[in-house]
């Protein structure tokens, strides 16, 4: 998993994205570890094209799909789908068109903070946004992280630490 590099590549490719999930938790100060990186991406034609182009050099394939299964992470595939779980040369990357509890890209963007990662100002889902999405997802692994997220949110509010 190459978080800093992946953010740089998407940024340089002009992709509109918000870091969500475990990577967003880590960037917000959680001690939680994750092995993949989740993003919410804008579903506009231009952004879909940029996303396909940015990832092409990193050989994206559907994670867990049988070898040899014909798959191209191109504009048409992205436009026809919504959520993609990919294995790439950058590691496992998930691209979601919508986030449970929040909605589509614009709602996710509205619930995000700007964080500078490796010199790049990128959007990262806020702690409030993470709490809302984890509550809505409702799986045991989502609910398990809620006490930490709520505690972290309280620390930030009371101390002003970012």
């Amino acid at each position: 998993m190459k978080l800093e590099e992946t953010i740089r590549i998407l940024y340089d490719g002009g992709v509109e994205f918000v870091v969500i999930g475990g990577a967003a938790m880590g960037l917000q100060g959680s001690a939680h570890l994750t092995k993949d990186i989740d993003f919410c991406y804008a579903r506009t034609a231009k952004n879909v094209e940029r996303l396909a182009k940015a990832l092409e050099p990193f050989h994206p394939v559907l994670r867990g799909a049988p070898p040899g299964l014909p798959f191209r992470f191109d504009t048409k595939t992205i436009a026809n789908g919504l959520n993609f779980t990919l294995s790439t040369d950058l590691g496992d990357l998930d691209f979601l068109g919508e986030v449970s509890g929040l909605g589509s890209f614009q709602q996710v963007l509205a619930a995000s903070d700007v964080r500078n990662v490796g010199g790049v100002d990128c959007r990262v889902l806020s702690l409030e946004g993470l709490i809302k999405s984890k509550l809505a997802a409702g799986r045991p692994r989502d609910l398990y992280v809620l006490p930490e997220l709520r505690g972290l949110n309280e620390v930030k509010k009371k101390t002003g630490v970012d």
Partner: protein, 68 residues
């Protein structure tokens, strides 16, 4: 992080106010003292730490699988 913020953070994680979210997290089993190191880091340092954690996890997983 300023010195005052660091002091306030230390107070909160070592003595979470009763009924607070921090107290609930501690009771749940969250090690609140980890916040001290994670919040001292910049987002870039957090990103690097996440990547390093994932790399170590991957090595441990491969070692476990090869020993099976």
């Amino acid at each position: 992080m300023t010195r005052d913020q660091e002091k306030a953070l230390l107070d909160l994680v070592t003595n979470p106010p009763p009924g607070s979210e921090l107290a609930k997290a501690k009771e749940f089993g969250v090690d609140l003292t980890l916040f001290i190191s994670t919040l001292r880091r910049s987002p870039t340092e957090r990103a690097r730490s996440l990547s390093e954690g994932a790399r170590i996890f991957q090595i441990a997983k491969q070692t476990h699988l090869s020993e099976k």
